[in-house]
Every structure is written in structure tokens, then in C-alpha cells.
């Protein structure tokens, strides 16, 4: 029994702004690929895709989601980039008792304070980033930190989680400055950072913001006195900054197109369509949707609760990752990678940017169930 005789999948993400590169149209394309690979059918019913741009506005995302659930009988909601919007969408989905898979959002609140029975946090989260880059950089000797933080849910989470890791690793946080999302000029924030005299400038932001921050830092010669740590960077960011400015930077990610033959194979297909290599998020979009459709296929139903149970019961195992989705809080637990940006001569082919420094086991990367702040977790 499939509601409305179609399986309706919707993705709401940033299609026009700072995060458009790392998910956006590419993400939509990835999902289309997933649907195509299912022959456009699951449980014998047609699969339809709707997508929308939330312009990084939580309210736009929430009302769009609500409208889709109410008027279009949406069955699965995919949350693209931007934590604020994902938090908003999670609430709506929970209210409508429909599965919500957050791909692009970073905030760990999705599986902690704000967890719901219908949320799956799929690709990564700020805790994992902290445990990756944060720990690595501190171990490498970066003891004093100053944060440049995007002023919304994601930035705050990332700063908080990283600070925790840094102090645990014996480092020290000297301060932080918040900047608006999609800020146009970082120089004045950076000057504030500089006067802190910290060794490490932690960039608790993403996408275009990270790129511009790095640029401005170079312009004002801040890179001479401080070392930059991009806490969330994607291959697209490195691509547009160029290896020259990013060489040697650490970053933590859930996936890299060149990490395995399967990954390479899929990425080639993606490249054919989008003329650029996929980011981990776009790969995750594909993987997540496939996982959902398989679940529907298996139980021949798109009923919210049943599908959720099925998805949590079956492990993920594809070119993107090997993951189990935790029943209690909906956290998809899988390995993460600490990557380092290659130097120009190390890079042998286009988009060959990273070398894997270490593989961080899922259990270490993500919040342990014991430490979870999710009210659904019984202690």
C-alpha cells in the first residue's frame, strides 16, 4: 500500500547561494541518478521527485515542506545544506510522521537536543568534523585557537563541538567572532581574529564563506601569523581556491571520489552530467535515496513508521559508505576520513586534490550513544 500510488521524494536545499556548489543542482542530479537506477519504480509504483531552493531561509524550507506534505502527499524529505533549514524541516516531518534524511546539514543538534523518530542524519556532523580536523590540528601542535564562526546553527555547533575536542586535547580557545552567513567582506573579522594572537584560526563556516575567509586571510597577511583550519571544507572549495592557497590544509570528510574503484566509477557518471566531480554530499544524496527506495521495495509500503524501521534495520553498503543507522537517535554511523590537500606537484590529474591521512572509525567519529543528548535515548 503506497500512498497516492506514487512515491514522492522531495529535496529542499540551497540552489542559488553559498552552498549551491556543494549540493544544489548536483545533489538533485544525484537523486535523479538514484531514481533512474531503480528504473523509476519501487514497490511497483512510480517515483517522483520535487525540489526547491530554500535560499538558506529556515522559514522558506519549513513552509515549503509543510505545503508538500499537505498538498502533494510527500513520502520522503531530503534536507540539503544548511543546518537551520534542516532543523526546521525535521520538525515538520516529525509532525507529519514522514521520514526526513538530512544530508548537507552539519549541526549535531539533529541527533541530540532536536532529534526525532523520523530524522536520519546521514552524511556527517559537526562532532565528527571536530573529532577529525580539530583533534588532528591540535595534536599537530596548534594549541591556541580562535574561531571565525558562521552566525547560525551550524557555525555555533561546529565551534562548540570543536572547542570541546580542542580543550580535551590540551588546547585552549582564546575567543571567536561571528560573521553573517554569505558575508561579503571578512577582513574586519579577520583583523579581530588577528588581535587574539592565537596560533590557529578555526573556520567554523562552509562553502563560499570559507573560500572568502581564506582569501581575505591571505590578503591581510594573516596566514603569516596564524594557521588556518577549515573545519568543514569540500572538494569544491579546494577546487575554487586552488591548491596554491590550500596546500597542506587538513579537512575531514565522509567520502572522496577517488577513495575506491566503485566511488571512481560512480563519480565518472556524475562527471558526465555535471562536468565536475561530486562532493561527498552529492554522493550521500544518491546513497540515501537508494537506501530509502530499497527499504520501500522490501516492505512494499511507504508508510512513514514502517520505512523508518526498515531503513534503521538494514545496514548501508554501497560505493559511498558502510553504515548502520542508530535506532535511538537516527545517526548514520560510518567511517570518516582525515584528508590533507596535496601540493600542486603531488596532484596528478584534475580534481586529484586529497591524500587520506587517517580513516576515523565511525564509533570514534560520532557522538557515542552514552553521550547523546537526544531525549529519545533511554539511559
Amino acid at each position: 500500500q503506497v500512498s497516492g500510488d506514487v512515491i514522492k521524494i522531495g529535496i529542499i536545499t540551497d540552489m542559488s547561494s553559498v552552498y549551491a556548489d556543494i549540493d544544489g543542482a548536483g545533489g538533485v542530479e544525484a537523486i535523479k541518478m538514484a531514481i533512474a537506477d531503480m528504473k523509476g519504480q519501487a514497490a511497483g509504483k512510480k517515483i517522483e521527485l520535487v525540489f526547491a531552493d530554500h535560499q538558506n531561509k529556515a522559514d522558506v524550507a519549513a513552509s515549503k515542506a509543510r505545503e508538500w506534505f499537505d498538498t502533494q502527499g510527500l513520502d520522503l524529505l531530503i534536507g540539503g545544506t544548511n543546518s537551520g533549514t534542516s532543523l526546521a524541516m525535521a520538525k515538520v516531518a516529525a509532525e507529519k510522521k514522514k521520514p526526513f534524511i538530512s544530508i548537507g546539514a552539519g549541526t549535531s543538534r539533529l541527533t541530540n537536543e532536536d532529534c526525532t523518530p523520523y530524522t536520519i542524519h546521514y552524511a556527517y556532523d559537526t562532532v565528527a568534523l571536530a573529532n577529525g580536523t580539530g583533534a588532528a590540528v591540535t595534536k599537530a601542535g596548534g594549541k591556541t585557537w580562535f574561531f571565525l564562526t558562521a552566525d547560525y546553527a551550524f557555525g555555533t555547533s561546529l565551534q562548540a563541538d570543536t572547542s570541546a575536542v580542542v580543550t580535551k586535547a590540551g588546547g585552549q580557545v582564546l575567543g571567536s567572532v561571528k560573521h553573517p552567513l554569505n558575508a561579503s567582506d571578512f577582513s574586519s573579522f579577520l583583523l579581530q581574529a588577528q588581535s587574539s594572537k592565537a596560533q590557529i584560526l578555526g573556520l567554523a563556516n562552509a562553502g563560499g564563506d570559507t573560500i572568502n575567509a581564506v582569501k581575505a586571510a591571505n590578503e591581510f597577511g594573516i596566514t603569516k601569523t596564524m594557521k588556518l583550519a577549515g573545519l568543514l571544507m569540500f572538494i569544491n572549495d579546494v577546487h575554487s581556491l586552488g591548491l596554491k592557497t590550500t596546500e597542506g590544509m587538513y579537512l575531514t570528510d565522509s567520502w572522496y571520489w577517488n577513495q575506491s574503484p566503485e566511488a571512481r566509477a560512480w563519480s565518472r557518471r556524475f562527471f558526465e552530467k555535471m562536468k565536475r566531480m561530486p562532493s561527498s554530499l552529492q554522493a550521500a544524496d544518491y546513497s540515501a535515496v537508494t537506501h530509502y527506495l530499497k527499504a520501500v521495495e522490501a516492505i512494499k509500503s511507504d508508510d512513514g513508521d514502517k520505512v523508518m524501521a526498515q531503513m534503521k534495520a538494514t545496514p548501508v553498503n554501497d560505493f559511498y559508505t558502510k553504515a548502520t543507522i542508530r535506532k535511538e537517535d537516527g545517526r548514520a554511523v560510518h567511517d570518516m576520513f582525515l584528508l590533507q590537500v596535496k601540493s600542486q606537484k603531488e596532484s596528478t590529474e584534475p580534481w586529484d586534490y586529497f591524500k587520506v591521512v587517517t580513516r576515523i572509525p565511525g564509533e570514534e567519529a560520532f557522538t557515542k550513544l552514552a553521550d547523546s543528548k537526544c531525549p529519545l535515548v533511554k539511559k
Partner: protein
């Protein structure tokens, strides 16, 4: 003259029936909120000639005020709305005292700037949740009726809207309204008759702000969140557009305007898709993301071609049609 009340009654019944006809209630409620917002704005521009370019500030102030009261302090719905409205009124008083000192273009610029100031405050103030805004504001229940039920809420919102509209109607057709009209028509003359124009304008401004607040607070209750979008300057522009399209200084114009613009904003994406379909020009698919392009064009057309707005022009047409009739 005496046909008017009937007209309003008919309108009321029609709107009351909508949800039963399967119209998406949230959409209609949203329209009602913006319609009330536009009416409030219109009270100012239409009846004092003051163009406020910062009315979003009042929508926002009330939205956050109500949101906070409902979510954090757990106020009951109506009290929450009242609180939000109060916040807007206070903001209105503060803005008014400053802006009334200049008129015309300066008034517009000043209100715009003050609104921007408030916007930045909201952006940074802890209680607003910054970029994320206030999420999942509870609707609560009224007289034991659970407002989480859209239909129940619908009739509450309708009631609020009718009340707001009635108040505006009253104001316009009151002794105060008479003086306002005279001030708009010829300020120097009104002053020379002993009316302190500034005072009257200020009261009008505060009233308008409060009503805009009522709209904002109600909107928060309906959609369950208050965000920066409520307070940003483009929203101020939007309400001007609604009023302009509907017809400044007309009673129902703003309502029509609000309906048209909101519908447009919702459907423009599909429209773009459709255009792309028929013309085969891919660019149209992006239309959904650039609503402003279309609204801007409407703006220009309205200002150049019909400044009286839909309702205004219709009324003028009607006049022209029956003038010769009763001439004979």
C-alpha cells in the same frame, strides 16, 4: 452606500467557506495575515500620505514578541498575540517620534533606516535565534479547542482579520479619520484650523504599526516560526507593492493586492517551469528563485501606468460607466 456592508458580508461568508471547499487553509491564513498587514500599511499611506518604508520592522517585532511569549513564556495564544501587537506599537511610537520630524522622501528613508537598525538588532539579539529564527512556536489551544488543527486555527485567524479590518474601517470613518484626511489633503490649511498635524500623524503611525503587529503576531501563530524574513527591508517593499497593486487609499485594495502578490510568489516557480516548457528557454526555470524580477516589473508598471491600483482603477471605471447614466 448601503450596499457596502452587504458586499463585506458576502466576502466574509465566502472566505469562511473556503476550507470546506478544500482550499489549502495555511495558504489562505497566510494571505489573511499579509492582507491585514497591507491594510495597516495602507491606513498610513492612504490616509496620511506618509510612505513608511520600514513597516516590516513592526511585522517582525510582533512576530518575535509573540513567538517568544508563546514559546518561552508559554502564553496562551491570544495573550501572545496581544503581547506581540504591543511590542509593535511601542516600536511604532519610537520610530514615529523620530520619523515624523521629516516628511516626504526623508520620512521614507528614515523609516527604512530605522527598520534596518531593528533588523540588525534582531539578527544579533539572543532571543531571536539569529539566522535560524524562532522555530516551532506552539499554537496552543483556545477554549479547549486545539489550534494545532488547521481548520480550528483558520476561524480564529479569520476572526482576528475581521477585527483588524473593522478597526481600520472604523478609524477611517471616525472624527480622527476626518482630520487625517484633511491633513493629507492640505496640511497647511489643517494646521491653520488649529490641528497639530504632527500629533495626528504620530497617532496614525502608531495605530498602523500596531495593526501591522497584529498581522505579524498572527502569522507567527499560523506558521509556527518568526524569522528575519519578517523584519527584512524587502518585506517592507512587498507590503508597499501589495498596497500599490490593490490600490492605495481604498478599503479593500490592499486585500486584493496581498492575494495577488502572495499567489504570484507561490505560483511563479510553476509559471517559470511552464514558460520554460512552452518557450523552451531554460532561463525561465530560474524564475522561481527571482520573484523580485517579476514583482519589480509590476511595481514599475503600477507606478507608471495605473497608480490607483486594481481596485482604484475598477472604481474609476465604474464611476465613468454610471456618471452619464445618472446625468440623465
Amino acid at each position: 452606500m448601503n450596499k457596502k456592508p452587504l458586499g463585506y458580508a458576502a466576502l466574509f461568508v465566502a472566505v469562511a467557506l473556503l476550507p470546506l471547499l478544500g482550499v489549502y487553509p495555511i495558504f489562505v491564513m497566510k494571505v489573511m495575515c499579509y492582507a491585514l498587514f497591507a491594510c495597516a500599511f495602507n491606513l498610513l499611506i492612504g490616509f496620511t500620505g506618509l510612505l513608511s518604508f520600514g513597516h516590516a520592522a513592526f511585522l517582525g517585532a510582533a512576530a518575535y514578541g509573540a513567538g517568544h511569549a508563546l514559546k518561552v513564556w508559554g502564553f496562551p495564544p491570544l495573550l501572545g498575540i496581544a503581547f506581540g501587537t504591543l511590542m509593535a506599537a511601542l516600536a511604532g511610537l519610537a520610530f514615529g517620534l523620530l520619523a515624523i520630524r521629516r516628511s516626504g522622501i526623508y520620512f521614507a528613508m528614515i523609516t527604512l533606516a530605522l527598520a534596518q537598525m531593528l533588523f540588525f538588532y534582531f539578527l544579533q539579539a539572543p532571543f531571536t535565534g539569529g539566522e535560524d529564527g524562532l522555530q516551532s512556536v506552539p499554537r496552543g489551544s483556545l477554549l479547549g479547542i486545539d489550534l494545532e488543527n488547521d481548520t480550528a486555527l483558520y476561524y480564529l485567524v479569520l476572526a482576528i482579520f475581521v477585527f483588524g479590518f473593522w478597526l481600520i474601517y472604523r478609524t477611517v470613518h471616525s472624527p480622527f479619520g476626518q482630520v487625517l484626511t484633511s491633513i493629507r489633503e492640505n496640511e497647511a490649511r489643517a494646521t491653520s484650523l488649529g490641528y497639530d498635524a504632527a500629533r495626528f500623524k504620530l497617532l496614525a503611525f502608531v495605530l498602523s504599526a500596531a495593526l501591522a503587529g497584529l498581522a505579524g503576531a498572527t502569522k507567527t501563530l499560523v506558521l509556527g516560526f518568526a524569522t528575519l524574513t519578517d523584519a527584512i527591508w524587502t518585506t517592507s517593499g512587498l507590503v508597499i507593492l501589495m498596497t500599490l497593486v490593490g490600490g492605495m487609499g481604498t478599503m479593500v485594495g490592499p486585500i486584493v493586492g496581498a492575494l495577488v502578490i502572495i499567489a504570484l510568489e507561490n505560483k511563479i516557480g510553476d509559471l517559470g517551469q511552464w514558460l520554460a516548457g512552452v518557450t523552451g528557454i531554460q532561463w525561465f526555470t530560474g524564475l522561481g528563485e527571482s520573484v523580485s524580477l517579476v514583482t519589480g516589473l509590476i511595481f514599475i508598471v503600477c507606478v507608471l501606468a495605473f497608480r490607483r491600483g486594481l481596485v482604484g482603477e475598477a472604481g474609476a471605471l465604474w464611476e465613468r460607466l454610471r456618471k452619464p447614466a445618472n446625468a440623465r
